[in-house]
Symmetry: C2
Subunit: 236 residues, 2 copies
């Protein structure tokens, strides 16, 4: 089955629709999105390959997905650590932080030191609403993720990539090619520039909604919340 | 590992704590509880044994778990149907209903007719906050679940059972012995009267909270949201 992609604009409209006529709360969607990410990490990086997962959390909803994923990874037996330098005063994010604190998941201030003692990185910095310039303190973080030998899983988009156009031509992120991408609900056009392992997650879209937004719900197996996609299944 | 049980009073206090100091929203907890139930159903009743699942939904949070489970079961490839005769005007339940309607999951008015054409029943009528008398229209529904040959999975408690004392000595529910029980967060004392397959779900409890409430988080496997418990693992 060829999977169609969802532009940045369409992804934003879909998100609004899920939370208005779709009647989902952001808590529900973020829980299921973060759960998908945690399942993809468990698939590509079983605990026997090392339990330490560093989750880089951005200031928006992509970061919220990362906080949820960190919590589930803890329950699976991983040892997550969270880098969360820009924290909005939003009640939801504060609650997701508290849930991680109650699990004694460490919040680290120094991403670069933490990167030296981790087995896997989750990039939950920017998602489909990103455009423009990478703001401080994230340029150096993205450069470090581009250069590290530690495998990186990006949530919905490699952070700094343009959702429709892919990696920047120069500067921050131009050399950032994460190992794994978890597209949420549907792949974004940037996937044509992505060469790693690609999963789709977010198994909550009604067929009628997918039809309206002209994308395909991929064929998930059993009770899985993610499905791995091969390159030739994405329709460009 | 021997699992301790959680009394009706302790379960209510735990629920309040998860949503206050634990910082979880009810949307999150219900999503994860319903997801656990859906995974247990998929485990005991794979789609090849029949895709039709009738979900009997009560007026409270146990019913909400059932609505979430029905939605996930749809995504797994089941054909759920929902019996939901007493619907509170609560925003959360109305949203959960809308999410199922958008999947075109049928809501049935006649439980007894629906029971004749289903492969599995989920009993999400009453949970740990139940006590006293079974109100209309549920007595006949519980009697039908007691008498049917279709396998029944109960959510947290067989409906009509006293959470601490088990099945009623006489009347409605005294002969109700579901095939499967999914205890949420921890088994309730009624499990000592339960003889079917027993799962624990709700993989979201922090070790510190479990310690405070003096129960054990069971040893879940991998990314599973449920774990099957054998009788001798429950400490009475």
């Amino acid at each position: 089955m060829a999977l169609k992609t969802l532009s940045a604009k369409a992804a934003a409209a879909l998100d609004r629709e899920l939370m208005s006529t779709g009647a989902f709360s952001i808590d529900q969607l973020m829980e299921l999105a973060g759960l998908s990410v945690s399942q993809a990490v468990a698939r590509v990086h079983p605990t026997k390959q090392g339990r330490r997962v560093l989750v880089a959390v951005g200031p928006g909803n992509n970061g919220g997905d990362g906080l949820v994923a960190a919590r589930h990874l803890f329950h699976y037996g991983y040892q997550p650590a969270i880098y969360y330098p820009k924290r909005p005063k939003n009640d939801l994010y504060q609650r997701l932080v508290k849930q991680c604190e109650d699990l004694e998941i460490p919040f680290v201030d120094d991403f670069f030191a933490a990167l030296k003692s981790t087995d896997h990185v989750v990039d939950a910095i920017f998602g489909f609403s990103f455009s423009g310039e990478v703001r401080e303190p994230f340029p150096a973080v993205i450069n470090a993720m581009a250069e590290t030998k530690v495998p990186v899983t990006s949530v919905d988009a490699p952070s700094s990539w343009d959702i429709n156009e892919g990696p920047p031509k120069s500067g921050v992120g131009s050399n950032f090619h994460p190992n794994v991408l978890v597209s949420l609900t549907a792949p974004k056009p940037l996937v044509k520039y992505f060469k790693g392992r690609h999963f789709v997650g977010g198994r909550f879209v009604a067929p009628s909604i997918a039809k309206k937004y002209d994308f395909d719900v991929p064929k998930y197996e059993g009770i899985d919340q993610v499905v791995e996609i091969t390159d030739n299944q994405v329709k460009i």
